[in-house]
């Protein structure tokens, strides 16, 4: 059920330059799953649209939702200035989330790049104990500011890649994948488009399943405006034109289903 609700900010801190970590007390925490997202409304009247931010972690007992986001414009700049105790308007919970059942009894590889790392955390938590062996996690960063690395390492074996080579493998997550000769039956990933294309290509070549969490500029977030679409192999269920709505049919898609 999607709805508008008001959450209360429990804590907020900058965990890397321009990367913010916000815990929100909200009833949405109980239904939010890995790979789903919320629309967060800035208060400024100069802004109009909810900002889509993925679920990083949930504490279902405490009713707390963790969002880790990059300051990218007027809206996220406003969020970054919010302090504990303030209220924040949320639209959610949105999107389909990662298909956890596909990991059952399989060797699983999770890959996050940049601001695509946060949704991997809740996914790693939810997959604990369901997979064949330990989950391998590849996390790619620009530099040595490995945000969320300690959290991720609690739920799987973490391999980092940094563009500047300051930590882990120099390069991107694909370089780290090759460097460590990791094998998997299924990959779950979130990150920038070039990375998702590389993962899709790799998975196709290796003959394994991959699930990609896509990002696109959104307006409504609920499937009405058709702003955030991705080309699909089959006709989509809404418009019957090979253009699925990322906010509604996604954001997570089987790599074989999307043309990116």
């Amino acid at each position: 059920m999607k709805k508008i609700s008001v959450g209360r900010i429990l804590s907020q801190r900058e965990i890397a330059p321009g990367i913010h970590d916000m815990w929100i007390g909200t009833e949405l925490a109980r239904e939010a799953g890995a790979g789903q997202f919320v629309g967060v409304y800035p208060r400024s009247a100069a802004t109009l649209l909810p900002r889509p931010i993925s679920v990083c972690e949930t504490d279902r007992e405490k009713g707390a939702l963790r969002l880790v986001y990059r300051e990218a414009g007027a809206g996220t700049r406003e969020f970054a200035a919010c302090r504990a105790g303030e209220e924040i308007r949320l639209l959610g919970i949105l999107g389909n989330g990662f298909p956890l059942e596909q990991a059952e009894g399989r060797r699983v590889l999770l890959m996050g790049g940049g601001i695509g790392v946060p949704p991997i955390l809740q996914l790693a938590k939810d997959l604990a104990g369901r997979t064949a062996g330990q989950v391998n996690i590849l996390a790619g960063y620009r530099d040595g500011q490995l945000f969320l690395a300690e959290d991720l390492a609690r739920y799987g074996r973490l391999y980092a890649a940094t563009e500047d080579g300051s930590r882990g493998t120099r390069g991107n997550v694909m370089d780290a994948l090759a460097a460590h000769s990791l094998e998997a039956d299924v990959i779950y990933t979130c990150g920038p488009m070039p990375m998702l294309r590389a993962v899709k290509g790799y998975a196709a070549g290796a003959g394994i399943r991959a699930y990609l969490s896509l990002e696109e500029h959104m307006a409504c977030g609920v499937g009405a405006c058709l702003g955030c679409v991705v080309k699909t192999r089959e006709t989509d269920s809404h418009s019957h034109v090979h253009n699925a709505r990322i906010c509604t049919e996604g954001p997570v898609f089987d790599a074989q289903e999307v043309e990116i």
Binding site: L48, L49, C220, V222, C225, V229, V230
Partner: protein, 302 residues
Amino acid sequence: MKTEVTIAGVTLKNPVMTASGTFGSGMEYSEFVDLNRLGAVVTKGVANVPWPGNPTPRVAEVYGGMLNAIGLQNPGIDVFLERDLPFLRRFDTRVIVNVCGRTVEDYLEVAERLGEAQGVDMLEINVSCPNVKEGAIAFGQKPEALYDITSRIKRTARQPIIMKLSPNVTDIAEMARAAEAAGADALSLINTITGMKIDIYKRKFALANKTGGMSGPAIKPVAVRMVYQAAHAVKIPVIGMGGIANGEDAVEFLLAGATAVSVGAMNFANPHATLEVLQGIEAYMERCGVEDVRELIGAVEE
């Protein structure tokens, strides 16, 4: 307190409608809004065949509003009649179907199919979408072209037709008169204002289509002015829209001469916007001792 208004013989329980393209066919927002409480639902544009729309990015926020270049992605009339219309008919609200096309024949085909359908109260003809290369706005920027397409659709349509006008014209009154002379039953305006946004760090256009239609609160004064000008140029009813966020905004359009109003981009900022606009109109009427909402239509003091 009376909130009913009548457009081309069709009575709406109140003057609040949805603006085409911002509310799908009602399904998505029915989780947030009781559609029974709306005066009418205006659907997203429906063409004769499915349209894929434009490449992404299709939307971008701007100060006080947004740009879109969706390009009228829609499933076409077949899916609309099978899936979307039966859904809408479950509600006690008027159904206005927005019709789009690349050629006059496309529009006529959709109008004909809708003429055979049960439960379609009016057609809104989109001759003002700025985001598709052929059709749409090509018919809405010259009075002669608008006259021609309006008269041809009027001959085919079984339901009253509302011509949706573009603000991207030199003289809105002239366009309004052309549509009226050709037999339009009502007018709706404004569609979005053509705009552009550039990402200065990437040195790229924010939209793949380069230009997009601007909507949202920032365009409201332009819309109020154009509704005023159009309403004073014609005798047929005018439906006003453009940046309406609350009841006070809606009353402004009514005073300018609109018989009804549509809520568009603000649905994205607040999925409850339509009902809040309705409640706001009622609160204004209460506060100002207005018994019948029709007293407000065109009631600005000259």
